[in-house]
């Protein structure tokens, strides 16, 4: 994890109801309070600071999405930059009919697909091995799932990192179309209709893909889940 990675978010089932245009509260620029649309408008008029604010607002989301699609930090970083360049070049074509965020994710996923297609396949850098975790105690697993609730012991922290690695590995093994839906929902907090907009799919298909993705993921993470039940 990079040093700048933020703490895991508390899980809120109502996150999907939140206004997705609200920026993350991690910005300290003067334009922090401006909406995405306002910043886009200013950027279209040539205000580079406004676009810089957009980049800062969404760098983590785009980078995380890219990294989980490509499984490579360097590639993810390059791709994230290209995404923002693409967005900048396409600002004139952004009519505001869709939210900036959904448009940004669409660009990101399109670039990811291009990259995956170019590679032929995604390189799985992290082998999936759940054997070691199956025998762990409940406390340690609980710390792995909710590490922000209390200060974990070094062992629990290490176990949490291992759990995180395994979850990431399981996500990587999902088919691309299922992984896209899962990441947009569970790591980017997009609502169903927004996911449908990003993927250009009916909402019903989104629900179906989410179901399949979570079912497969649950099967892969069965040792962890069984230990916690």
């Amino acid at each position: 994890m990079p040093d700048g990675s933020q703490a895991p978010r508390k899980i809120d089932p109502n996150l999907s109801r939140a206004n997705p245009s609200n920026p993350p509260a991690d910005s300290d620029l003067p334009t922090q309070g401006l909406s995405d649309e306002r910043l886009v408008f200013s950027a279209r008029a040539g205000d580079r600071d406004a676009f810089a604010q957009l980049v800062q607002r969404y760098e983590a989301q785009v980078y995380t999405m890219s990294m989980r699609m490509l499984s490579n930090r360097e590639d993810a970083r390059d791709l994230a930059q290209e995404v923002f360049l693409t967005v900048y070049q396409g600002l004139d074509r952004f009519r505001g009919e869709a939210q900036f965020r959904t448009w940004l994710y669409r660009v990101t996923l399109n670039r990811c697909r291009d990259e995956i297609r170019r590679r032929g396949t995604v390189k799985h850098t992290r082998p999936l091995s759940l054997d070691g975790l199956a025998a762990n105690s409940d406390d340690e697993r609980g710390a792995a799932v909710e590490p922000a609730t209390r200060e974990p012991s070094p062992e629990a922290a290490a176990r949490g990192r291992e759990t995180e690695r395994l979850v990431n590995a399981a996500i990587e093994r999902l088919p691309d179309e299922l992984r896209e839906a899962l990441l947009l929902r569970d790591t980017q907090d997009l609502a169903y209709d927004q996911i449908a907009s990003v993927l250009d799919l009916p909402v019903g298909t989104v629900r179906s893909r989410l179901n399949r993705a979570r079912t497969r993921l649950a099967e892969m993470l069965q040792p962890i889940l069984e230990g916690g039940l």
Binding site: R9, I11, E59, Q81, P147, I171, D186
Partner: protein, 440 residues
């Protein structure tokens, strides 16, 4: 016990995601409480979702934003709408053809009216037509003609236009160019070519002086000199041929002017407020000779303006350039001032409120993309010249030097100034005429 199918799983997911209608959610919650299998499936999915949602949002390196922004200027160039080149080119071509047709038609009408066929004008007629009309007068006619075309129904016939033009010409003493003897016109062209070559030589000489540190357009101690005779010759040459100057020619002309005399270049730009939409009549009144071409006139009827944003990397640089621009523009409005649109690009002066490591200037003026490119080259030249080792650094560069905390005596490096050109299309809304100097 109940069979758990995909439909039920999707409903469980929707419940987890808060995407289930309340009534349906309540029913499903009740079922979860009652049915152990459904409850087990729900818990299994909930924990799976929790594991995924607990993954941290990762961040790229700290310099990601800076590096991304550093790549933008290259991208900005491709943001320029290529349509403008086609629209501008077509408009210019149409205007030139129209002007040529009208002049030819007027000439034909004149000869037909006299019933003498093709003939040379005698000295009496030539005298009655008067001296060659200054370019500004002819330009005004082009503007008037365009304005009437804009306002008139589209089915207006060209004959009536020619008639009106003829009447105006007679009232104004006539237009000499259309009826100028061919030899005389060729002689003028040759003279103009000669002037142009001399002006080019003058450009080289001026550059040599500048390179030797004998003159700096940005230096405080070196105020902008008055336009030289050579410069004015070049200006007049362009003004004398307003309808045949292509946008590319004007761009070259601007570049040449920029090399000759910065003040002369700047005084040719129309001063408008940030985000202003310029009514056509105001444009006509305020635009200098440089923009008196038919092409730009026609284009101006549709283009509301072009915004040039100069982004600089140092506040001191921004202040330095702002001082330079203010010399020509008089007053530069801050963003949000009366008559500006706050949501449009920040006006010049925003650099004062920017951070110490960044600043931005916006220059709003009517430019074609070619002219904007020439202007960008001019700005870049100023910047490079300001940091040339043979010259005294500008106040901005000096401050950069002083601000180095490590005390290392590093030479100030040229700071590239990317230029973003934004073109706004749309018919300007009719608005009441503002008195002269209202922007001040």
């Amino acid at each position: 016990m109940s069979a758990i199918d995909d439909r039920l799983r999707e409903e469980l997911d929707a419940l987890l995601d808060g995407a289930l209608p309340e009534e349906q959610a309540a029913a499903l919650r009740a079922r979860i409480e009652q049915d152990a299998d459904v409850r087990a499936e729900y818990e299994r999915r909930r924990r799976t979702v929790d594991l995924v949602r607990a993954l941290p949002l990762e961040r790229p390196a700290d310099d990601f934003v800076a590096q991304t922004m550093a790549r933008l200027p290259l991208a900005a160039a491709s943001r320029r709408n290529p349509l403008i080149f086609w629209v501008g080119g077509l408009a210019a071509a149409a205007a030139i053809m129209l002007a040529f047709f009208l002049e030819e038609d007027a000439s034909r009408s004149y000869t037909e009216a006299t019933g003498s066929g093709e003939r040379q004008m005698d000295s009496k007629e030539e005298k009655s037509l008067g001296e060659p009309v200054p370019a500004s007068v002819r330009r005004k006619e082009v503007f008037d003609k365009t304005a009437k075309q804009d306002a008139a129904p589209q089915d207006r016939d060209l004959g009536s236009l020619v008639g009106e033009k003829k009447e105006r010409e007679r009232a104004a003493g006539g237009v000499a160019d259309a009826r100028e003897p061919v030899e005389e016109r060729k002689a003028k062209d040759r003279a103009a070519e000669s002037d142009f070559e001399e002006a080019e030589e003058s450009i080289d000489a001026d550059e040599e002086m500048d390179d030797a540190g004998m003159g700096s357009p940005t230096g405080k101690s070196a105020p902008a000199p008055a336009p030289s005779r050579r410069t004015m010759t070049l200006v007049q040459r362009v003004e004398q041929r307003p309808t045949v100057l292509s946008p590319a020619d004007r761009g070259l002309y601007l570049a040449a002017l920029g090399r000759l005399d910065d003040q002369a270049l700047l005084t040719h730009f129309t001063r408008v407020g940030a985000g202003d939409r310029i009514p056509l009549d105001r444009l006509r009144r305020e635009q200098g000779a440089l923009f008196g071409t038919a092409g730009s006139t026609l284009l101006a009827g549709r283009a509301a303006g072009i915004v040039i944003v100069l982004t600089v990397t140092k506040r001191a640089e921004a202040a330095s350039i702002r001082t330079l621009l203010a010399r020509a523009y008089g007053t530069i409005k801050p963003a949000g001032a009366k008559g500006t649109r706050g949501s449009v690009a920040p006006a010049a002066g925003v650099a004062d409120r920017a951070g110490k490591d960044g600043g931005q200037l916006s220059l709003h003026c009517m430019l074609t993309p070619v002219e904007a490119g020439a202007f960008a080259a001019w700005i870049e030249r100023l910047n490079l010249r300001r940091t040339a080792p043979a010259q005294t650094p500008s106040p901005g560069a000096a401050r950069i030097e002083e601000s180095r905390s490590d005390g290392a005596k590093k030479k100030a490096q040229p700071i590239p100034i990317p230029v973003v050109v934004r073109i706004k299309f749309g018919q300007p809304k009719p608005q009441p005429e503002r008195p002269e100097g209202a922007d001040k």
